[in-house]
Amino acid sequence: MFDRAMRRKLFSHGMTILTGATVVIVLIPLFWIIYESALLGGSVFSLGFFTQNIPAPCSAHTGVTCSTEGVGSAIQGTVYLLLLASLYSVPVGLGAAIFAVEYGGQRAFARAISMAADVLSGVPSIVAGMFIYALLIVYEPAIVFSVFSGSLALGVIMLPIVMRTSEEALRTIPHSVREAALALGISRWKTSVRIILVGALPGVLTGVLLSIARAAGEAAPLLLLDNGSLHPCLSVDTVCQSLSLTIYLGATSASSNYVAIAWGAALLLIIIILGLSIVSQLVLNRTARKWGQGS
């Protein structure tokens, strides 16, 4: 019916439509998850949802009223976890990145550090949780279940992300900038800190934001290490609730209000994480353009 050239052309158009359809299929779950969370989570959003602590489980038998307010203690716990985890992972990750870029003279060693970070980023989060458990149970059994121990596991997860993104940011600074600084007689460490690091700061901050976004949603290590409290946290050696575990609680608890609270927590987490991801992407695009023009 059609000649050969026509058939080939039609087939090509057909494949364009088919590959376009795969994009649509891939995006369906994303919008579905966001839609459900916005619908079911949005309905429990209120001032009390953000300020009240997680309520007690309710049931018709005990007569406890079913409240969907709120996740205050979980927000506080997540903030504690992320602050503590950043405290260890940012200096170590940034330091390792500076070492790899500025002093990694013998390229094999610099590559070994990046390779170690790459490999570390593939470690499953539950394994990071078991690692911290096995480590603390030997040396500090008193704090093995605490927000501190949970933050250590999150630190292990954040460390390779901070290192790799900082490394890439530092590498975008043209070598001529380093040479110019050294030629002016500025010492090496001042060049690294005041010139290279300042120049790469947007990229480094992007990496820190991305690692925080990743850690904010982590639940597996917290399930092992920092699980079971509904109350606000008082000190680093106590167990604290987190937003991610509030969702897990909603999935596993028989108490009906916890499902609604979990949808609210899911929506809040998605807003925070997508917000952080989008902001960091914008910063990254802008800096990429800046240095792209400069060189």
């Binding site: 494949m15 364009t16 590959t19 795969t22 994009v23 891939v26 995006l27 779950p29 994303l30 998850i33 459900e36 969370s37 200096p91 170590v92 330091g95 390792a96 500076i98 070492f99 500025e102 002093y103 070994a112 550090i113 170690a116 970070a117 790459d118 490999v119 570390l120 593939g122 470690v123 499953p124 989060s125 539950i126 394994v127 990071a128 078991m130 690692f131 096995a134 480590l135 149970i137 292990v156 390779p160 007689g185 010492s187 090496r188 460490w189 976004a213 904010a216 949603g217 639940a219 597996a220 399930l223 092992l224 575990l245 969702i247 897990y248 999935a251 899911a266 987490l269 994480i273 997508l274």
Partner: protein
């Protein structure tokens, strides 16, 4: 870098002494950080190995080929969970690979230029959604759909294969695989897209000049060139699927058995750890769980190293090809 200062009067001797010490301190501090990073990686293996010594000594290699996990009888075998992990990851990849490669081809070859970057970045948002949210959504939204809509159709159409037999519960290996496939798509798409973009223009132009259609360019000139990069993306996606915990734990049904069909409840190594950690019945169960974690760590590390190796070879090959 040349040593020595060509302008002896500036900076002064004192400043130079200070910066010399500053340099040394800075070098030591950053070196300690770099060593710390490598130490974390080494400590992961050492600490988990040390923690699982009781079961390694008591069970030896039995751990690797025992078909049951029975804490009361002090029988610990990783096989049911290794099978659960490999099965869910394999089906997840089977679903994710065509979708991811299709999306990568569309976003690099066929889509209008203005659409490419925004859509690619939206797909990457899939990777940002936490796994516990995937699990919760899977449990509340996907499980009923699988149970009442998808499972009966699959049983009718493909029941004869034997893969789709048993009760339709929705909490099963198939649902876990579907959730995992959604989670691996952004990884495979991103890396496939990057490796397709790295294909030299001349490669495409040569095919076009011979009269190839858009699809023939993708199929015959671009994909073969980007093949190893795409494979690296698939292997990295596999690494992500193997270690995934929360999303799987909430939808797989958590039964410590070898799955007999895709509608069976099952357990992966990661979900075993998440489930049994707080239900330890005997003193040997904790070391057994630590050994399971060590086993999972070694598998995922091996998979990731293979992926990086393929990627590095791909880049090396590209550098040669560019000359």
């Amino acid at each position: 870098m040349t040593r020595g200062n060509p302008f002896p009067t500036f900076p002064s001797r004192k400043t130079r002494a200070v910066s010399k010490w500053g340099d040394r301190i800075f070098l030591v501090l950053t070196a300690v950080a770099a060593a710390g990073l490598i130490a974390v990686l080494v400590a992961l293996v050492v600490v988990l190995y040390h923690g699982s010594l009781p079961t390694i000594n008591a069970l030896g290699l039995n751990f690797l080929y025992t078909l049951t996990w029975n804490p009361q009888g002090n029988v610990y075998g990783i096989v049911p969970f290794a099978i659960g992990t490999l099965l869910t990851s394999a089906i997840a990849l089977l679903l994710a690979i065509p979708l991811s490669i299709g999306a990568a081809i569309f976003l690099t070859q066929h889509a209008p230029t203005w659409l490419r970057e925004p859509v690619a970045q939206v797909i990457q948002l899939l990777a940002a959604i936490p796994s516990v949210v995937y699990g919760f959504w899977g449990l509340i939204v996907l499980v009923p759909i699988m149970r009442y809509d998808v499972d009966p159709i699959l049983a009718n159409v493909l029941g004869w294969t034997g893969w789709f037999s048993g009760r339709h519960i929705g909490l099963d290996v198939l649902t876990a695989s579907v959730v995992l496939s959604i989670m691996t798509v952004p990884t495979i798409t991103a890396i496939s897209k990057d490796s397709i973009l790295a294909v030299p223009r001349s490669q495409k132009e040569a095919a076009l000049s011979l009269g190839a259609t858009d699809w023939e360019v993708s199929r015959r000139a671009v994909i073969p060139y980007a093949r190893s990069g795409i494979i690296a993306g698939i292997v990295l996606g596999l690494g992500r699927a193997l270690g995934e915990t929360m999303a799987v734990t909430l939808v797989i049904g958590n039964a410590n058995v070898i799955p007999t069909s895709l509608f069976s409840q099952g357990q992966t190594i990661a979900s075993l750890i998440a489930n049994d950690f707080f239900e330890q019945e005997t003193p040997l169960e904790l070391p057994a769980l630590l050994e399971a974690a060590l086993f999972l760590l070694i598998i995922t590390l091996a998979v990731n190293i293979v992926a990086r190796w393929i990627q590095a070879r791909f880049q090396a090959g590209r550098a040669v090809g560019a000359e």
